[in-house]
């Protein structure tokens, strides 16, 4: 009856075979293929990046200049988003459906599986509401972000600002930054980014399939703690910084003050400035765009990017080099007829004043052009008038040691070199042998192709104050709680002039303030040594320049003040410098014999009228059209513009960087 008995083995064989096939497949996915473990942890683990507080920046007296607050961004992981009430969601965030679609498309483009920013910088109330309803919006989560706040609204260009990382930065960072992260874009925020940003932490949180939090993963075994960014102690003195910004209100120009004994920068005013708090929060994009369009270019970091002819402020340096090279002695006398005859050129003194017999000190005190043209010719022709290029090269080397024509390597991005032409520059311009000392005579009084940043000018004063050396100027004097100071800032840089020669130049500079061109700015009880400078620009008002240090013995501050297109050095720059020096040294501003007082200078509006180039005019027209057209779209574009403009983009447009020596109607003054 039991036929086909042997078929039991075939059936059992089939059972065994299929069970083994299943086990084989199970072996593969469970043991061999380890992707699934990864997928499972991706499902359940949300890596919450803990953003450390960005380091605060203090001034030299421990006053907070910038600190971090916490706000929240809404992040999205597009692949995790499940259908939900989009309308309600949009209403909550105050965006429309088109805005929603655009944000999603952007996030998806970055990565469907990685988090990117959906909406930035929620207000605390909005964040609270959103947090409550988080479970309805699968795939969305809040992310802490640091925002900067500036209690004093000051030192904007010094501090710089932070902004969202751009795509190239993300690529270059090798995965450290992701969209929505903030990075220092300019100023100290940028140059000390790695110190300020601190170390990020990661919290591994678990969520269920509906994105409900379910506690920490593996009891936090894989979590790392965020380490707050280091505290930076800046060299700035907030008191004089603020005073300086007020004095420079409605003026274009710079103030740079340096502590000669350390190279620490005490005051770093770039005017016009802006309130750094404008570049924080939701309105950041609009504000940045408005600032970018400002014709006075507040993002331009004038102390290190603007170039000015040093003008007469260059004269003490000339005197020092000539003494060191043995071309003159302090007693060398020059009889000034009210001009200097260089070849067939006549260079007049200021207002064609006749100085008569002047020595080194009085030449400085009265800013006699003739004396310094004479000095310059002696230096340049020291190997004979035929070997002017060799003589010029030697002169150039002497000047370069004072930090002109080279970057001082300030701890701030975008520093300019200034201009100190080499001999072959003139060879090209006039052919070799085609130029003589008289051709380049304007250099002797700090004009011509010579141009320098306010920082370089202030540094020259620090050199004179130190009688022959300088420390690299720097903005950050100590990093972190250990107050680390960079080694390079403790090295003396000698300029190759013996300290003994300095007193003659300094005598002249003291006279400038005591009895000379700047005597209206004399500070009661303080011996300030300075030099005015006035550089005329064709058809415009002069740049007012004043450089100084004080007190004469054991100097505490060296300063350079430039007020563009305002008038003579003694009129604007010198009084402003004197107020800052006095405030720094004594903590107050006393009544002056000349009757000047700070409020007058604070309230003066010296902004030159805006002159737009044809391209700029066209651009403005287009811009206004665009603005009328789209509003929501412009936000992004403006942000891009704001990012682009950092730093130096407008450098080329700066009206003051033009070489003045070759202008036909140039006048060398004071």
């Amino acid at each position: 009856m039991n036929s086909f008995f042997e078929r039991r083995y075939i059936i059992a064989g089939i059972f065994i075979a299929f069970i083994l096939l299943l086990l084989g497949r199970l072996f593969y996915i469970q043991v061999v293929d380890d992707r699934y473990a990864l997928y499972a942890s991706q499902n359940v683990i949300r890596k919450m990046i803990q953003y450390p507080a960005r380091g605060p920046i203090l001034d030299r007296n421990g006053k907070i200049m910038v600190q971090s607050d916490i706000i929240y961004d809404i992040m999205v992981i597009p692949k995790q988003v499940t259908p939900f009430d989009t309308i309600e969601f949009c209403k909550l965030l105050g965006i429309d459906k088109a805005g929603y679609d655009k944000r999603m498309a952007k996030a998806r483009k970055y990565s469907p599986y990685r988090a990117s920013v959906f909406e930035k910088q929620l207000s605390p109330q909005l964040y609270a509401t959103f947090q409550e309803r988080l479970s309805e919006f699968v795939g969305f989560f809040p992310q802490q972000r640091p925002v900067r706040s500036y209690p004093d609204s000051a030192a904007a260009q010094f501090l710089g600002y932070i902004g969202e990382v751009t795509d190239p930065i993300i690529k270059r960072s090798g995965g450290y930054y992701s969209p929505g992260d903030y990075i220092g874009i300019s100023g100290v925020e940028r140059s000390y980014e790695t110190v300020l940003r601190g170390q990020r932490g990661v919290l591994n949180k678990m969520v269920d399939s509906r994105n409900q939090p379910k506690g920490s993963y593996a009891n936090g075994a894989f979590d790392t703690v965020a380490v707050a960014g280091e505290k930076l102690v800046s060299s700035l003195d907030m008191t004089i910084q603020k005073l300086g910004e007020e004095l420079m209100r409605n003026k274009i120009g710079s103030i740079v003050a340096i502590e000669p004994s350390t190279g620490e920068i005490l005051c770093f005013v770039s005017s016009p400035t802006y309130d750094p708090n404008l570049l924080v929060g939701k309105q950041r994009g609009n504000n940045a765009a408005a600032l970018y369009k400002d014709p006075y270019k507040p993002f331009f970091v004038r102390p290190v990017q603007a170039l000015y002819p040093p003008g007469s402020s260059f004269k003490p340096l000339s005197a020092l080099i000539a003494m060191q090279e043995g071309m003159i002695t302090p007693q060398t006398v020059y009889v000034c007829p009210g001009y200097y005859q260089a070849g067939n050129r006549r260079i007049p003194c200021f207002h064609h004043e006749v100085h008569g017999a002047v020595n080194l000190s009085s030449a400085i005190a009265h800013s006699c052009n003739g004396y310094f043209d004479m000095v310059f010719e002696k230096l340049v022709n020291r190997f004979g008038t035929r070997n002017v290029d060799t003589g010029y090269g030697a002169w150039r080397n002497n000047v370069a040691k004072f930090g002109l024509g080279t970057r001082l390597d300030l701890d701030l991005p975008g520093e300019s070199r200034g201009l100190l032409p080499k001999a072959d520059y003139y060879d090209k311009m006039y052919r070799k042998g085609g130029w003589r000392s008289s051709t380049v005579i304007s250099l002797g009084i700090g004009q011509g192709e010579l141009s320098a940043t306010p920082l370089q000018l202030a540094n020259i004063e620090a050199i004179i104050a130190n009688r022959g050396f300088y420390y690299k100027p720097h903005l950050i004097k100590a990093i972190g709680d250990k107050r680390i100071i960079k080694k390079e800032y403790t090295v003396r840089n000698y300029v190759g002039v013996d300290s003994g020669y300095f007193r003659y130049a300094i005598d002249g500079m003291q006279q400038v303030v005591d009895v000379g061109t700047a005597n209206g700015s004399k500070i009661p009880g303080i011996v300030m040594c300075g030099k005015t400078g006035t550089a005329q620009i064709t058809n415009q008002k002069d740049n007012s320049v004043f450089v100084a240090f004080a007190p004469r013995d054991n100097p505490k501050i060296a300063i350079a003040v430039i007020v563009e297109k305002s008038g003579q050095g003694a009129t604007w720059a010198a009084p402003i410098a004197s107020f800052i020096v006095e405030k720094y040294l004594t903590g107050k501003i006393s009544t002056r014999a000349s009757g000047i007082f700070p409020e007058y200078y604070m309230n003066a509006n010296l902004l030159p009228p805006v002159v737009l180039t044809a391209t700029e005019k066209r651009q403005r027209h287009v811009d206004s059209l665009k603005k009328a057209q789209v509003d929501s779209l412009s936000k992004l574009k403006l942000k891009a513009a704001a990012n682009q403009q950092v730093p130096g983009a407008p450098k080329g447009k700066q009206p003051l960087s033009q070489p003045t020596a070759m202008l036909p109607k140039r006048k060398d003054n004071e």
Binding site: M1, N2, S3, F4, F5, R7, R8, I10, I11, A12, I14, F15, I16, F18, I19, L22, L23, R25, L26, F27, I29, Q30, V31, D33, D34, R35, Y36, A37, Y39, A40, S41, N43, V44, K79, M206, V207, D208, S209, R210, K214
Partner: protein, 425 residues
């Protein structure tokens, strides 16, 4: 045969090994249901508010039911087979009218008190019983076309009714009874042809028809060359090849027009023709992730994140194997599949030791049905088969499923415990 004899044989003749396997699988199921739907507020495994508490009750009921079955008179089973079958068929008709619809399948009849009856579960043992009774009749042979058609009809009738619910999974299970027919003498070509058709179906969906046809032609030539002396066989092979080629070209139109869109999607996902991680493929992908992430030794009891945080759907019923795979790893997979294989081979062994053809045929029916459930359920969970909702025997949550498998198995054990009785009586 007196009562005392009957009672002593009740204990001595029961196949305790099978009972042990049965209880082990039930307990494994119970613990994994506990892990799958674990509620931190109700940690007790016998809390009857929870599925694990309920499953505990079902297991107790199943054991009581098993004992009752063992106390039955075994001749009674064969005699009542038509009655069971007719009742089930009527219930299957009834469910189409008054049935309760869950997840698109109208498969449940409300019994009151929160309990539901799933007639398709009970159709399995009723069909097995009637098939066994019919095939064991002395004048019936499967090789006889008339008998084959009647036997096929017995299997097809519940299939058609269940398909109308439409419960594809349960419908498919009845196909497994082809093993029973094979064991009783059905031509092996039947198995080979079915296997060949399935292979061709899948390959022609995966590869261009031209490639598949080329492979068939090459295979035909090679086979013909090796058996060139046997001309009639060559002829058969060539006929078979021709039919295969026709089938290959027919598959695509059949597939595109003969299946419903959702069925097509499920198959597409398994074959890797579409990558739809969020849509149709979501469940299967999450199931695969759960099992795959278990590794060799698993994440440990109640530690499966995929399971605990509800990434896997239907994780206490159709996808219960995910919990096993995730928390117990490959080791757990080996144990569970090992237990099933052991059980299947034991059932085959039991079936073969029967003297009565009725018992043997029924035994093969039990083995086939359990085998198909295990195969399809686990293959589905690890993503090598489309999603077909059928439970894992004795392990998945659910009273109807557990009780119907218990009845299925214990009727066999009852028949087995009485296997000597046929000679005596």
């Amino acid at each position: 045969m007196n009562n005392s004899n009957q009672r002593s044989s009740f204990f001595s003749n029961v196949d305790w090994l099978t009972v042990f396997l049965f209880i082990t699988l039930c307990v494994i199921g119970w613990f994994n249901i506990h892990a799958a739907v674990y509620d931190e507020n109700k940690p007790s495994i016998i809390d009857t508010d929870t599925r694990y508490g309920k499953q505990f009750i079902y297991i107790v009921v199943a054991i009581v039911l098993a004992m009752l079955i063992l106390l039955l008179e075994s001749r009674f089973l064969s005699a009542l087979a038509p009655f069971f079958y007719v009742t089930t068929v009527l219930l299957l008709l009834l469910v189409l009218v008054v049935g309760h619809n869950v997840g698109g399948n109208q498969a449940w009849i409300d019994m009151g008190g929160g309990f539901r009856l799933q007639p398709s579960e009970f159709a399995k043992f009723a069909t097995c019983l009637l098939l066994a009774r019919y095939l064991s009749a002395t004048n019936v042979k499967v090789t006889d076309p008339k008998s084959f058609i009647i036997a096929g009809g017995i299997i097809l009738l519940p299939m058609v009714l269940i398909k109308m619910q439409p419960d594809d999974g349960s419908t498919l299970v009845f196909c497994s009874l082809v093993f029973v027919l094979y064991r009783e003498g059905l031509s092996p070509y039947f198995l080979i042809v079915v296997g060949l058709l399935v292979t061709l179906f899948i390959t022609s969906l995966l590869f261009p028809s031209a490639y598949v046809v080329a492979v068939i032609v090459i295979a035909t030539v090679l086979i013909s060359l090796t058996i060139k002396r046997n001309r009639p066989l060559i002829f058969k092979v060539i006929i078979g090849a021709a039919i295969s080629i026709a089938f290959v070209f027919g598959v695509k139109p059949l597939y595109e027009h003969g299946l419903k869109p959702h069925q097509r999607k499920r198959i597409d996902v398994v074959l890797g023709l579409t990558r739809d991680i969020k849509g149709v493929g979501y469940n299967q992908n999450q199931a695969k992730i759960a099992i795959g992430s278990g590794g060799a030794w698993g994440k440990g009891y109640l530690q499966g994140t995929q399971t605990k945080y509800a990434f896997v759907p239907a994780q206490s019923t159709d996808f219960i194997f995910c919990t096993i795979g995730e928390e117990w790893g490959f080791a757990g997979s080996v144990v569970v599949l090992g237990l099933y294989l052991f059980l299947l081979l034991r059932i085959v062994h039991i079936a073969e030791r029967q003297r009565a053809p009725f018992s043997r045929i029924y035994g093969y029916g039990v083995a086939s049905i359990i085998f198909f459930h295990v195969l399809i359920n686990i293959a589905m969970a690890i993503g090598v088969m489309p999603v077909i909702g059928i439970p894992l025997p004795f392990i998945s949550y659910g009273g109807s499923s557990l009780l119907s498998f218990t009845i299925l198995l214990f009727i066999l054990l009852k028949l087995d415990s009485n296997r000597m009785g046929v000679i005596h009586g």
